[in-house]
């Protein structure tokens, strides 16, 4: 079984600060890590390989530094990694990113399964996984929480939906985006780290995978960011100050009539 895991390198969110003027994330000095939700996809891929045999290829599109995330995935147990990197990719939105990754996947096919995290913790769109499935015309299960069975031809999965869960039987190859319930990511081992340090990770440009200029990057992205701002959260509170018996009973009366007005309580 050949499994492909697209991953993203994201800033470690507990250390992130926001530039108040531009509304964008200050990336300088912030550690980059594998998108935490992608760890579950990597773990699932490793578990499937342990059960079924095969290989796991992790892929990513990002700056040269994204190699660190790919090496971490190798240290956890992935077999090989490929990085898409170059100026031409800069500014890609989810459409262009999905397109670029799908093009790479076409180049390295055949494969049986693509697994990714439900969404990235920085962009938070959850669109790239389904985007890849769409470009490759693959059956898709988002929010996958359990693999019920898998053989050479089919996979049966449970996915979370608002009312509970649904079970899908899909032909392979297919794409799954997974939620945390699916697995529990293992830690990288010393042996894995040693392998990860020396393994050769090919870096492909847009040209290498045959994407014409203008179809990716800022130019190839239909999403235009007009303005980024922080929504103002405003709460108007009324403070009832209790000083003595008299103000206490007054405050209680005012609170009761307020709750009645808002139809929260009624007598």
């Amino acid at each position: 079984m050949k499994i492909i895991v697209p991953i993203k390198q994201v800033p470690e969110t507990s250390q992130v600060k926001i530039n108040e003027e531009t509304g964008t994330v200050i990336r300088e000095g912030v550690e980059n890590i594998i998108n935490p939700l992608d760890l579950y996809a990597i773990e699932l891929a490793i578990e499937l390989r342990e059960e079924q045999g095969g290989t796991i290829t992790v892929i990513s599109m990002g700056p040269p530094k994204a190699e660190i995330a790919l090496r971490e995935a190798i240290a956890m147990g992935a077999d090989e990694a490929i990085l898409l990197s170059g100026k031409e990719f800069a500014g890609s939105d989810t459409w262009a990113t999905a397109y670029a990754l799908a093009t790479l996947i076409k180049k390295i096919q055949p494969f049986d399964l693509i697994v990714s995290g439900e969404r990235a913790t920085d962009g938070d769109t959850g669109q790239v996984g389904p985007g890849i499935a769409s470009f490759l015309n693959l059956p898709l299960s988002t929010y996958t929480r359990k693999i019920e069975s898998i053989d050479n031809q089919h996979i049966v999965v449970q996915r979370l939906i608002e009312e509970g869960s649904e079970t899908l039987k899909m032909p392979l190859p297919a794409l799954l985006t997974v939620v945390k319930e699916i697995s529990y990511p293992r830690l990288p081992t010393l042996r894995g780290k040693q392998k990860a340090r020396t393994i050769d990770i090919p870096v492909y440009s847009g040209e290498d995978i045959g994407i014409p200029e203008g179809e990716i990057g800022l130019k190839g992205s239909p999403t235009k960011v007009v303005k980024i701002y922080r929504p103002q959260i405003t709460r108007k509170g009324t403070l009832l100050v209790v000083k003595d018996e008299k103000t206490l009973s007054e405050s209680i009366d005012r609170l009761i009539s307020f709750l009645e007005e808002k139809k929260i309580i009624s007598f």
Binding site: E31, L187, T189
Partner: protein
């Protein structure tokens, strides 16, 4: 010891000194000041009044008032102590240093900060991180404890193998003495042999000699590369035996060298919903190395990892980024909380022995546990020989039985530790919890000398009385 009660007029005077918002006498408001992290049923005691001074002058006035009226005073930091040090054993006044929480100066030229005692230890590090500096003291409660408490207890923690404990970084202190006098000890001097080292006397004095109101802390350059190894061993013996070897054979001094037995890891993992393969591992070590050169630190981590594999370790996990490091340290840090869920009745011990005998000691502790039919998980700072063997009440035992056997076990444990060249507390202090056992490890002459020192500085015995030893 007879003390005077806190009368209405004393409360009035305290309000005059600190203002009415900073003095409480209501029972509900006093309750949080009755205990620290030791079991409440065993050690708690109500103060008569809590005051929150905002500067040294107010602390001095409070002490003078207490001194003139013979009222006991207990200073209090964050209340995260583990020996009952902040509990007002004789009632009286609790002086909470909560409002004295300012970082007064960051002196980059000398790499020192001057802080008030109520600053949260972690805040110092947050503040100086941008300057590429850090305070190397690292109590495990770093996110809650106050630096004043660290000084009072001479706190140790997870980085002591390489960086030592709190006192190494305390350059100067301002202290209010029991009679209200204010003295200044030490200063921004790396070397200082001017007379007796009184500053050192106050560090670790558990609030029994005075109230620290200002602290000069030495900082170090912040290492930019940190790698943690979580190493799984088949059994405790294998894990512990490797501890001295790590330093001797690799010639690397790790930042941390923590030990956790299976029960500790399992309980913490279940508490955190963490899925480490603890079923197979009888014990784990958590080893941290740090430095500024990526390749050097990686090589050091690898050398230690290889040594452990060579000696039969089952697996070596590597955590070199925030996500994985948080995961492995969370397991270690949450052990005490996790055991509170198992049983709130427990005794967190803080024994320290020469590292060469840890393996034997851990084995003998397990024999004691079996003999009394309770659990004694062991975890802690193996690189310092400092283990938090924790007596956890067997849920089938009655509370009365627990109290009986707890005392028996402590006696047995402490005698064992003494015999092995160790002592009963490495970093938590004696406080209320261990004072009845002090004579096991300290001679009568030594305790008498301590009493004389105490009497000289605090002739009326009003400063945190009832701690360390009876008067």
């Amino acid at each position: 010891m007879k003390y005077n009660p806190v009368s209405h007029s004393i409360v009035e005077k305290l309000i005059e000194i600190c203002g009415e918002h900073y003095v409480f006498v209501d029972k509900e408001k006093l309750e949080p000041y009755t205990h620290d992290e030791t079991p409440t049923e065993q050690f708690s005691h109500f103060p008569e009044v809590v005051v929150m001074p905002r500067d040294t002058g107010q602390v001095a006035q409070i002490m003078r008032l207490a001194y003139e009226n013979g009222i006991p005073v207990t200073p209090r930091g964050a209340g995260s102590g583990l020996s009952g040090g902040a509990i007002p054993a004789y009632g009286g006044i609790v002086v909470s240093l909560d409002k004295m929480n300012k970082i007064l100066e960051i002196d980059t030229q000398n790499m020192m900060v001057t802080v008030e005692p109520g600053v949260i230890t972690n805040e110092v590090n947050e503040k100086v991180k941008e300057l590429g500096l850090f305070f190397a003291g690292y109590p495990m409660s770093v996110e809650t404890c106050f630096i004043g408490g660290n000084v009072a207890e001479n706190a140790g923690g997870g980085r002591a193998v390489k960086y030592g404990v709190t006192d190494r970084y305390i350059m100067g202190l301002e202290v209010v003495l029991p009679d209200g006098e204010i003295i200044s000890l030490g200063g921004k001097r790396v070397k200082d042999v001017t007379g007796y080292n009184l500053k050192q006397l106050f560090i670790g004095s558990e609030g029994t000699l005075g109230i620290v109101t200002k602290i000069i802390v030495k900082l170090l350059p912040l290492p930019s590369v940190i790698i943690d190894l979580l190493i799984l061993f088949k059994n405790i013996k294998q894990a512990i035996q490797i501890v001295p070897k790590i330093m001797l054979e690799t010639r690397i001094i790790p930042t941390s060298l923590e030990f956790m037995d299976q029960l500790s890891v399992q309980t913490s993992c279940q508490y955190l919903n963490e899925h480490l393969p603890y079923q197979e591992a009888g014990a784990m070590l958590l080893v941290e190395v740090d430095g500024n050169n990526q390749e050097v630190v990686e090589a050091e981590a690898e050398t230690i990892g290889e040594l452990c594999l060579e000696q039969g370790a089952l697996e070596v996990y590597v955590a070199d980024n925030y996500t994985t490091q948080e995961r492995v340290w969370a397991v270690r840090r949450n052990i005490p909380e996790a055991f509170k869920v198992v049983s709130p009745q427990q005794s967190v011990e803080d024994i320290v022995v020469p590292i060469s005998v840890i393996a034997v000691v851990v084995e003998e502790i397990q024999e004691i546990a079996q003999k009394y039919d309770i659990l004694i998980p062991c975890y802690g700072h193996a690189g310092d020989g400092n283990l938090h063997a924790t007596l956890v009440k067997n849920p089938r035992h009655s509370y009365k039985k627990w109290l009986e056997i707890e005392h028996q076990i402590l006696l047995e444990l402490y005698h064992l530790i003494k015999e092995k060249g160790g002592t009963i507390s490495g970093e938590h202090g004696i406080g209320l919890k261990r004072k009845d056992y002090l004579s096991i490890v300290c001679s009568e002459e030594e305790i008498n000398l301590m009493r004389k020192i105490k009497k000289t500085i605090d002739p009326k015995n009003i400063m945190n009385p009832g701690k360390i030893f009876e008067e």
